[in-house]
């Protein structure tokens, strides 16, 4: 049995994962490999049996069952590679587990410096991971890079996920990171794992700022603050699988979770030129509006 701390949860797993090792007696979540699941579902399909039982199947990878907010069963399919199971497990499956728990995650990246976190959100291809990677060059570290689990009490606390990032080939080149075929996330796709430990932080951070990245047909990077009323829809639309949250009948809890966090956060929108690396300009405009 392996023990890890993932997204602030104590996870016991019979699958070896590239995550932060941890010591604990009581696990919050168990990951268990099984020979069969009590229900077979269609490939590439989410199935919500009820509040406590979600199913997810990825063709040629694995079927997953998430139950009672504390158990993930993994049924490997065929001759799959272990790294693909890990990819979906740490993404969609943990994301769905959090939705089941009522901790609705955001989709994006968080980087930290001196315990202060900033979140980078936006559509697929907006440049979240690339910008997070560029922040590392300025002495920041990556806390999470896909699923953002946060809880709001006296502040908004973001929990570290695991020490790896997925970056496009061109972005890796731009950031002077050496990648080879063996670092490919999935064969034939030009996306690579960046795993050097010193780029990542495994400390909880106080999230203070949220930046939405918007590629636009413009020449120069622009930054604008976002009103709190607009921030509500920004947070809803950038929630991890938010359509799924609605289908799961959790819109009310989701709304509460977000409105609780909003007063602690400052929101900005960054407009950046399409088809051009402007990471230094983006970081420069971010540094002008934040205090770390």
């Amino acid at each position: 049995m392996f023990k890890y701390r993932i997204f602030g949860l104590n996870v016991k797993s019979d699958i070896k994962l590239d995550c932060y090792p941890a010591h604990f007696d009581v696990a919050d979540v168990e990951v268990r490999t099984v020979n069969k699941l009590d229900k077979m579902i269609k490939s590439d399909y989410f199935y919500l049996h009820n509040d406590n039982e979600y199913y997810l199947s990825i063709s040629n990878v694995a079927s997953f069952k998430i139950s009672n907010s504390n158990l993930i069963e993994v049924l490997p399919i065929g001759d799959n590679s272990h790294s693909e199971i890990e990819l979906f497990l740490l993404g969609s499956v943990f994301g769905s587990l959090m939705i089941q728990m009522g901790n609705f995650p955001l989709h994006g990246s968080v980087v930290e410096k001196n315990g202060v976190g900033i979140a980078l959100i936006g559509d697929s291809g907006a440049g979240k991971s690339t910008l997070a990677g560029a922040f590392v060059r300025s002495g920041w570290r990556v806390v999470t890079d896909d699923v953002i689990r946060y809880l709001t009490e006296a502040n908004v606390r973001v929990y570290p996920s695991y020490p790896s990032q997925k970056i496009w080939g061109k972005a890796a080149e731009y950031l002077s990171l050496n990648v080879t075929k063996s670092d490919s996330v999935i064969n034939r796709i030009d996306k690579y794992y960046i795993k050097s430990k010193d780029r990542f932080s495994n400390k909880n951070v106080n999230l203070k700022y949220v930046f939405e990245l918007v590629p636009q047909n413009i020449d120069k990077v622009k930054i604008k603050s976002v009103r709190s009323s607009e921030a509500l829809s920004l947070m809803i639309n950038n929630s991890y699988r938010y359509k799924f949250i609605e289908v799961a009948g959790k819109a009310k809890g989701h709304f509460k979770c977000i409105s609780k966090a909003l007063p602690y956060l400052k929101f900005y929108r960054i407009y950046r030129p399409i088809d051009e690396f402007t990471m230094d300009e983006q970081i420069e405009s971010i540094m002008k509006v934040i205090e770390v």
Partner: protein
Amino acid sequence: MLYKRNVNIEFSSIGNEIGMLNIDTGMYYVIDEIGKDLWDYLVDPISVTDLVNKTLNDYDIDYETCLNDVKQFLQELHERKLIDVV
């Protein structure tokens, strides 16, 4: 005719504004500071006249404008099923 908040609306203060979720329709709304005052008054059934009088107390505006604004606001809330007529 009295107006009152729809009980199936989740709402929460966001700075000086109020964010709302209509659970039945899944739609989100935000109302501004003046709307926020009216929303506070709509906690119990209240008439247009009472709403107008309270608003006239809070803001330096004339009766005609206030009546029109309150009526329009109530109509918008009602169309979006955020309030009920009781």
